[in-house]
């Protein structure tokens, strides 16, 4: 009985193990038709078996690729495993990608089989069929709206499974033999990274890589099959996939899929995950909602909240880290836990969170400390698709807001003289698919992966990341210019959603601002400021004053740092449209593409540096239904207040 789980080297073998060892425990839940429909591990294994046999019957072969397009759905995760059972390689694709964006991966990996969630995804796949003639089979999970689709390529998930069960009955030993034939060194999955330029690259990850890393992290955090995870981010992103596929397969915990995008917050409250992952922007959005909702509260409640949040800021994180705190503060914190923190965790759906990670980009210290101070064990994580995520994790009790922690066991790290971080780990990717050039560039002969991130070790041996190596620039006077650092500082204000900083090779720093529609909309309503929408608000002087105040605070902060005092923001403008991934301005993981934005809004950038007070623009926008239109607007430009460098003052 006591199988050493470490001897199981592929995901299908792990699944078989769980179906045996904890067949009755929940493997995956999905809120559907109003309740949490549950698959046990045994059921999961059964679904996978039928599916795999069906795919085999239809001709999916070892080494071929299977595209999976859709949101977090049990059946799509089953499809992932089914492909792996046959030695085929699942390729999850972003469900919010437009049709053209899907063409490249399908052509690149010569994908012949795809599993799509619903009509929307099927439509996109059908749209690119002419350019992807190799795609011959499309299976769909939700038949809604597809009844009259006559395409030969289409088949429902149920029919595929039925075919599979028939095939299984006719070829009794086939499935088990295929699973047994799988090896750790086989490719387990391929994830396309969006990249900021050029075509996306397919990152090839082996079973061994994913399983090793998933296990290392699970051991470090003591994850068990009683843990619960909410799968709410795109499954095509490794940041979701590792937590909703690789780790549950290693530990046997249960993942939960929300009912729809609109119900995530509510579903999270119901499920109460114990293990949680969120990129900073999600945490930020949550905090923004918290702040906004608190602003609507009565003054008594607001001051109570403010008081206890101050207590939390002072001692909350220390208590969480088990550091000594005076009895009076402990008592106050305990009271705060009853009155504020506990309820707050409850409404955020985080009452049961034991371990929470954030990663993907730098997190503002205040944001980070907020969650820790109210008793949520939020930690930073460093990793990427190429490293099977887990490179650095902050161990419990050693959490700092400005580092990402020391290396996870099994990982070797070093920095180049240019401060670029290099990694060697069992979790490293095998290659970029059909892209030896890029592979060679990223992974050197000694097996070191070049991350492109700049940083250094702090005195405790934690890794501290500043920015991308290529983005760290210099102002014309030679001062360090770390755009992301500045942008992050700005984005910490609830009113500011996005910021794009310019300054490399220039004499001073200027920024584009996207304000947060919800926060500023609320703010405007409270001040009885009528508005018709984003574009309208973006042109308001009142909004400029609001944004200006935020920038002023950032400048004050920057002025304290001798290295960065010169990179204070001198001028800014509020963009007339929200930056959008559909327009290529953000990556699919919603990082700003600074270079592209700089080109696209060249006149605006020029105006910032030309000292103009306003500039007229016309911009192309893509609407959700694929149509394009244009917006024209006069964008105002304002100066920001700057401060003399504090260090300089002190010196003087």
């Amino acid at each position: 009985m006591a199988v050493d789980i470490r001897t199981l080297d592929t995901f299908p073998k792990l699944l078989a193990h769980h179906a045996q060892a904890r067949g009755g425990l929940p493997a995956i839940r999905e809120k559907a038709l109003g309740v949490w429909q549950t698959w046990s591990w045994a059921r999961f294994a059964d679904e996978v078996r039928a599916l795999a046999c069906g795919l085999a019957a239809h001709g999916l072969k070892r080494g071929e690729h299977l595209a999976i397009v859709g949101d977090n759905r049990p059946r799509l995760y089953a499809a992932m495993c089914a492909a792996q059972c046959l030695g085929a390689i699942p390729v999850p694709l972003y469900q919010d990608a437009v049709a053209e964006e899907m063409a490249f991966p399908i052509q690149n990996a010569e994908i012949g089989f795809a599993v799509a969630e619903d009509q929307e995804q099927v439509d996109k796949l059908l749209e690119i069929l002419p350019v992807c003639p190799m795609l011959t089979r499309i299976y769909f999970d939700d038949p809604r709206g597809l009844r009259n689709y006559a395409q030969d390529a289409l088949m429902s998930y149920e029919r595929l499974q039925a075919a599979g069960r028939e095939f299984d009955a006719q070829n009794p030993g086939f499935f088990d033999a295929e699973v047994a034939a799988g090896k750790g060194a086989d490719t387990a999955a391929m994830f396309f990274t969006s990249g900021t330029t050029g075509n996306p690259k397919g990152v090839v990850l082996t079973n061994t890589a994913l399983i090793d890393r998933a296990q290392a992290a699970a051991q470090m955090e003591g994850l068990a099959d009683s843990d619960v995870v909410l799968a709410y981010l795109p499954p095509a992103w490794i940041g979701q996939n590792i937590f909703s596929y690789a780790q549950p397969f290693v530990t046997g915990y249960c993942i939960c899929c929300p009912e729809s995008a609109e119900t995530v917050i509510n579903d999270m409250r119901e499920i109460g995950p114990t293990y949680y992952f969120a990129p900073p922007r999600v945490l930020e959005a949550l905090l923004t909602t918290v702040s906004i909702r608190m602003e609507d509260a009565g003054s008594l409640k607001r001051s109570m909240y403010a008081y206890f949040m101050e207590v939390a800021r002072r001692v909350g994180a220390r208590i969480l880290d088990g550091k000594p705190v005076g009895p009076a503060d402990r008592l106050l914190y305990a009271l705060g836990d009853v009155l504020v923190y506990g309820p707050l965790r409850n409404v955020l759906g985080m009452s049961r969170v034991r371990v929470a990670y954030t990663a993907g980009e730098a997190i503002g210290p205040d944001l980070f400390v907020f969650y820790r101070s109210i008793g949520i064990n939020l930690k930073q994580l460093y990793g990427s698709t190429e490293t099977s995520v887990f490179v650095c994790i902050q161990p419990n009790g050693q959490v700092k807001s400005d580092t990402v922690g020391p290396a996870v066991p099994g990982v070797e790290l070093r920095f180049t003289p240019q401060r670029e971080l290099l990694i060697r780990s069992p979790g490293l990717f095998k290659e970029y698919y059909k892209n030896p050039g890029a592979t060679a560039e990223a992974k050197d002969a000694e097996g070191w992966f070049h991350t492109g991130d700049a940083g250094y070790f702090d005195p405790d041996g934690h890794v501290k990341i500043i920015d991308r190596v290529k983005d760290v620039g210099r102002l014309s006077d030679g001062t360090l210019f770390a755009p992301k650092y500045i942008e992050n500082k700005l984005k910490f204000f609830p009113y500011i959603k996005e910021a794009v900083a310019f300054g490399d090779g220039r004499d001073r720093v200027c920024v584009f601002i996207n304000f947060d529609m919800e926060a500023v909309g609320n703010w405007a309503e409270r001040r009885n400021l009528p508005y018709s929408g984003y574009v309208d608000l973006a042109s308001r002087d009142e909004v400029y004053v609001l944004v200006g105040e935020c920038i002023e605070k950032v400048n004050l902060d920057l002025s304290q740092d001798p290295e960065l005092a010169n990179s204070q923001i001198h001028r800014f403008l509020v963009l007339h449209k929200e930056l959008d991934a559909d327009d290529g301005e953000l990556t699919r993981t919603r990082k700003v593409r600074r270079g592209y934005i700089g080109e696209r809004y060249q006149p605006l950038v020029a105006a910032l540096y030309d000292g103009l007070r306003s500039v007229h623009v016309e911009a192309q926008v893509k609407y959700e239904d694929g149509r394009t239109g244009s917006i024209s607007a006069d964008v105002k430009i304002r100066d920001a207040k700057t401060f003399p460098a504090a260090a300089a003052k002190r010196a003087a």
Binding site: R29, G34, K301
Partner: protein, 354 residues
Amino acid sequence: MFYRENGQYKTTYGADQQMLPILQDRIFMAVLLLFAFIGVPLLASDYLLLSILVPFLILALAATGLNLLVGYCGQISVGHAAFMAVGAYSAYNIVLRVPQLNFLVVLVLAGLIAAAVGMLFGIPSLRIKGLYLAVATLAAQFFMDWTFARVKWFTNYASSGSVSTATIDLFGWRVDTPARKYLFLLAVVTVFTLMAKNLVRGHLGRAWMAMRDMDVAAEVIGIRPVYAKLTAFAVSSFYVGVAGALWGFVHLGSWEPLAFDINLSFTLLFMIIIGGMGSILGSFFGALFIVALPILLNQVPAMLGLPLATATKSHLEVMIFGSLIIFFLIAEPNGLARLWAIGKEKLRLWPFPH
């Protein structure tokens, strides 16, 4: 504030549709019931039991009955004390004529007779509503008042017109002490409340509410008005009839027809307006309020050193009732129950205001 709902997810419709879907509510209810069944009889004085809790429980039951009709089905009644009278006199006569019958059976029979009479007076509701229906129920009130006052058979030819009852005996357990009376009532009221709650969240309850909210639409989607309205009258009168029997046997002991006059009908109506129309919980709030207010009026001014004359007190009482009715109709038409629900919602969303 006290709610921790994370992890309370439902995997079946059964769990999702349970009466108290939130764990903390279930705990609260369990503690409350435990306290009511064990703590109260141990701690409460006879005065508290007899003067407050006994009438409170019975009136809560009656208000629940009236609420099913008025609050859930939207059919007005200003004559529900008549059905209490039917229940009380039925029970009296059954006990008188078939003394060996267990009192629980008597209660059910009394309720059934009240239900039959209620349905009879509910028949006009099929053609008329609102004010017109008020007249039909007033007719019930005055006609039943008269019947019990004048038809001698009902009072067993008592010369004074008043009747008195013997102690209730349940399988040898005599309901004679204040604590026993309280426990007996508590058990009956608990069971009936549970059933009422079940009814209103079942398809019959939805049919009632549909009739209340939009009767034409209700009929168009296939709800039979005859069935919905008459069942509402029947169930409501059943509850009120049982309450009437308990009022007579447990609370009053002996009574005359005036005990169930129109003022009691109005009082019942006030209970559900103040407590909350369309809420079972509201019936309890309303009953508690109505029972507690006179006592407060008695004690608070005295404590403040301003003893009031009896007449002034009773006038003050009706004034307060009158103004509260208007206040609630204007400010919170769903009564105290709505305030409770808002408070609960606030606690669930705490520290957020909404």
